[in-house]
Symmetry: C2
Subunit: 463 residues, 2 copies
C-alpha cells in the first residue's frame, strides 16, 4: 500500500470528457453559411451523371464467383471474403413467451470502419461527406461517410486498392477521435453484424477530392429532410456526435438501465446459425429465395456496372425487403426536456436487446393479422394528422447489402392520451440526451433508432 | 415542430445521476463500528457447522437425472433446466492471427439475478450478505449476495421454493435500484453466460434471517483480505457500487473506448456451439472429461448432501480447472489518480472483447511453452517482491458451476521500468474510476477484473 514514489509520476492527465465538443457540434448545427441543400443535391446528381451505373437482377446461376456451397447450401464467395448468406434458427425469450423461427441471414463477422472526418473551417466544424454509389440504394448514389472500409480493406490483408482518407482512421496521430464504437446493424437481416462508427477531427490540412464535400452539421440536417439522400452509414455515425446534455429526465440513468436489464433478462437471444439449405419456411427459386407466404424479404442476385468504383463490374447477392417499412419515434417534451418512447427490441440476429424506435416494422408482414396482434402504435403512427408529424422522410438501409430497403422515418408528437407517462410493457420514456449518451456503448441503441436520433437532433437544433 | 402544449406537461423530472450515492458508499467503506472480520468469519464457521455438507466425486453414470444425450453427447438434465455441458468451436481474431480450438463449455442462457440488498442504519449503508453453501467452493460456505436466483426461480415458472428476499429485486416499489446490469461471466468456461448484477436499497424494514448479516462496506473490504471468504457473485455485484470519481485520467474516456474498439474489431469472437461428442482434443472417461494433454480443466460429476438447502441432496456436473490461477492488476498512480494496466481479452465463450486484468491465466497451461510465449507480465507478477504487493488473497469462482476454481488475486505496484506509460499492444492504462464507470454497461469489464476492482476500491478506501 506504499506509494513507492510513483504518485510523483507526473505525465499530463487529460480531462476524461471533451467538455467543449457539444458546443462545437451545436455551432456546426447552427451554421447558416454555405451551400443550400438543393445545391448539394444538385452536386450529388452531377456525380451520378458523370459516372454510369447499372444494376440488374440476375439469376443465382449468373453470379460470378458466388455459389451455393455443396452440403450447407450457403451462398458464399469463392474467396471466402465479403459475406455469406446462411440460415438462422432464431430463438428469443423464455417460456411461455418464447418465439422461434428460421430465416436466411447475412453473416459478416468482419468489423469494418464507417468513418467521418471532421475539420474546423472559420471556427465551424465541417464533415467530409462522400458521394458514393451502392447498388441497393434507390438513388444509387447517396451522401456517405468519408470512409466505408471492410477489415480486409483497412488492414490490407488482400492488397486491394487503398481506401481514400482511410489513414485518418487507422493512424491516431493524424487527428483527434471524437467517437469510436462498434455499433450493431439490422438484427432482422444480419447475424451479429457490427461496424466501427468513428468520427475523427483532422489536425492538419486534408487533400480535396471531387467525390467529397465538406458540410456543416446544419447542411447535413437539412439534407435529412430529403428522401434517400443521406445513407444509413452516415446517419449511424453522425448519431454518435455528442449533444449538450440535460442532467434531468423522467427516469434516472440507473432506472433506465435497470428497465433494459429486465428486458434483457426476459428475452435472451439464443439464435444459432444453420445451413441455408435446411431453413424451413423458405423456398429457393431461380432468381430469389422467398418466404413461403411472400412475407419479410427475399434474397436476390444483381449484376453491377459502375464507372467510378475500384472494381468496374461485379455481381453479388442482396436482401430485398418486401414492401416499405415504418420507423417512428413518438416524442413528448417534459419541462422542456425532449423524450422519446423507446421500445426494447430483441431481434433474431442481434447479440442483445437494444433500445429501438417506438415503431419499427414492415406493415405488410402484419397485414394478415387481427388488429390486436399488429405492432403497438403502428396505427397511431400511420394515421397521424399532419399537425402531429414533426419529421417525415424516406431513408434506405445499407445499399451494399440491401436492395430498395426503404422505410418512412417519422417523429411524431404524442400526448398523455396516446402515449402515457406510464409506458406500456416493453416501452420506456428515454430523454434524447440519455439516448445520445448510450450511443457511446455497443449494443444499446439500434441502427434505426440512431437514424431517428440524428433526425431528432436536427429538429432540436431548429432544422 | 409545434409543441402542442406538451412542453407544459410537468411530471417531476429526476436527476439522471444519484449524486449523493458515491459519498454514501464512501461513508460505508470508512465505517469503523461493527463486528471484526474475525467475528464474521467465526459466524460463517458456525453456520457451516450447524448444517452438514458433503460433496463427493461420482462417476458420470451415477449422476441422477443428468445424462449424455444420444447423438450430441451433450451432458443435459432430464428437465431441460439448469445448464448443459456442450462443445465449443472457438474462433477468435482475423487472419493471420486467428486462433481456433475446441473445448467443452457450460451453456446456460437463462439470465439469473445476483442481488445485494442495502439499507441505511445510523446513517451508514449496510449490505445484507448471506452465508451460502455451494458445492464447488473450497470452504463450501462463503459470504454471498442476498439473492442468487435463476430466471426460473424468480419468475416461478417451475413453482420451486421461493427465494428469500427475492421480492426486493423483482418489485421496484420495495426499494431504490442503485445498479442493475447484465454482466458476463467466465468466457473460458461459459458460452455467453450473463447474470443481472443488482444492488437495491430497501426503503422499509427488512425481516431478519439467521443465514444473513448486515455488513458495512468496510467490513466486506476487510473480509476480502481473507482467502475464499467472499464469493464471486458478491464480488461481482459489489464492484458495481459507484465511487467518487476523478474527471482526469491518463487517457480520455473517448480514447479508452476507441482503443477498445480497435481491439474489438481486430479480434471478433466467432465461436459456435458444437456437440460435446465431437469436441476434438478431449477425452471422456468414467469420472471426467479431460484435455488430452491434461491441461485447462476437466468436467466432473459430484454428489451433494446439504441439510440447509431447499433440496437436501442432488448430483450435478462441475468444471474443475487444472491448477491454481493467477489474476493480477499492475497499478500506477499518476498525479494522485490510481490507474490499472488493463488487458483487452477475447475469450472463446464471450460475446465480445472486454477489459480484463493485466494477468489472468492458469500458469500450468503455459508451463510447456518457451518463456517468450507465456502470458506477458506473468513472471513479473509471480516473482514480485513483497514491497510491490498491495493486495494478495485467494478467491474462488462460482461454486455452483466450478470445483475448487481458485486463483491468487493480486494488485501490484508497478513503475515505468516494468510497466511503461506507453502500454504494450493489447494493454492500456485505465483509471480506477474509468473502470468503475464501465461496470454500468454490459460486456465492458470481465468478471475477474470486477473482483480486482472491488479489491482496489478497498485499498483506495484504506483497508
Amino acid at each position: 500500500m506504499t506509494a513507492r514514489g510513483d504518485t510523483r509520476a507526473r505525465p499530463p492527465l487529460k480531462a476524461r470528457r471533451a467538455a467543449a465538443l457539444p458546443d462545437r457540434v451545436a455551432r456546426s448545427a447552427a451554421a447558416s453559411a454555405g451551400e443550400s441543400a438543393d445545391g448539394i443535391r444538385k452536386w450529388l446528381r452531377q456525380r451520378r451523371e458523370q459516372a454510369s451505373f447499372a444494376v440488374d437482377r440476375i439469376p443465382f446461376e449468373a453470379l460470378e464467383d458466388w455459389s451455393f456451397a455443396p452440403g450447407t447450401g450457403n451462398l458464399v464467395h469463392r474467396s471466402g471474403r465479403f459475406f455469406t448468406v446462411e440460415g438462422l434458427h432464431a430463438v428469443i425469450g423464455e417460456h411461455p413467451d418464447q418465439e422461434e423461427w428460421q430465416q436466411p441471414v447475412i453473416v459478416q463477422s468482419e468489423v469494418g470502419i464507417l468513418g467521418i472526418l471532421a475539420r474546423e473551417f472559420d471556427g465551424v466544424l465541417h464533415f467530409l461527406m462522400q458521394a458514393k454509389m451502392e447498388p441497393g440504394n434507390p438513388e444509387l448514389l447517396q451522401l456517405s461517410p468519408t470512409v466505408q472500409a471492410t477489415y480486409s480493406n483497412y488492414t490490407k490483408v488482400h492488397q486491394g486498392a487503398s481506401v481514400r482518407y482511410l489513414e485518418y482512421f487507422t493512424d491516431p496521430s493524424r487527428g483527434r477521435v471524437h467517437s469510436d464504437v462498434l455499433q450493431s446493424e439490422h438484427g432482422a437481416w444480419f447475424h451479429r453484424k457490427r461496424n466501427r462508427n468513428m468520427i475523427v477531427e483532422a489536425t492538419g490540412p486534408v487533400p480535396e477530392h471531387e467525390d467529397f464535400r465538406w458540410l456543416t452539421l446544419r447542411q447535413i440536417h437539412e439534407l435529412l429532410r430529403h428522401d434517400n439522400t443521406v445513407n444509413m452509414d452516415a446517419r449511424s455515425v453522425l448519431a454518435g456526435l455528442p449533444v449538450r446534455s440535460t442532467p434531468y429526465a423522467l427516469h434516472s440513468d440507473t432506472e433506465l438501465l435497470s428497465w433494459l436489464a429486465v428486458r434483457r433478462a426476459a428475452t435472451p437471444i439464443r439464435s444459432e446459425r444453420i445451413p441455408l439449405a435446411g431453413v424451413s419456411g423458405w423456398k429457393r427459386g431461380e432468381f430469389s429465395i422467398d418466404h413461403e407466404d411472400g412475407r419479410y424479404f427475399r434474397t436476390v442476385a444483381v449484376s453491377v456496372r459502375a464507372s467510378n468504383r475500384e472494381v468496374g463490374h461485379w455481381t453479388q447477392p442482396l436482401i430485398e425487403p418486401r414492401g416499405q417499412g415504418v420507423v417512428a419515434f413518438l416524442t413528448r417534451t417534459f419541462q422542456g426536456v425532449p423524450h422519446v418512447l423507446a421500445r426494447a427490441r430483441a431481434e433474431g440476429g442481434s447479440t442483445d436487446v437494444e433500445l429501438g424506435p417506438t415503431v419499427q416494422c414492415q406493415p405488410g408482414n402484419h397485414a394478415h393479422l387481427p388488429a390486436a396482434n399488429r405492432p403497438r402504435f403502428l396505427d397511431l403512427v400511420t394515421t397521424a394528422p399532419p399537425s402531429r408529424i414533426r419529421y417525415s422522410a424516406l431513408h434506405s438501409e445499407e445499399g451494399g447489402r440491401f436492395l430498395d430497403s426503404v422505410s418512412r422515418y417519422l417523429i411524431l408528437e404524442a400526448d398523455e392520451s396516446d402515449a402515457p407517462l406510464d409506458a406500456p410493457p416493453g416501452f420506456q420514456w428515454v430523454s434524447r440526451d440519455q439516448l445520445a449518451a448510450l450511443t457511446r456503448y455497443s449494443h444499446y441503441v439500434n441502427v434505426q433508432a440512431r437514424t431517428l436520433l440524428l433526425c431528432l437532433n436536427a429538429l432540436e437544433d431548429g432544422v
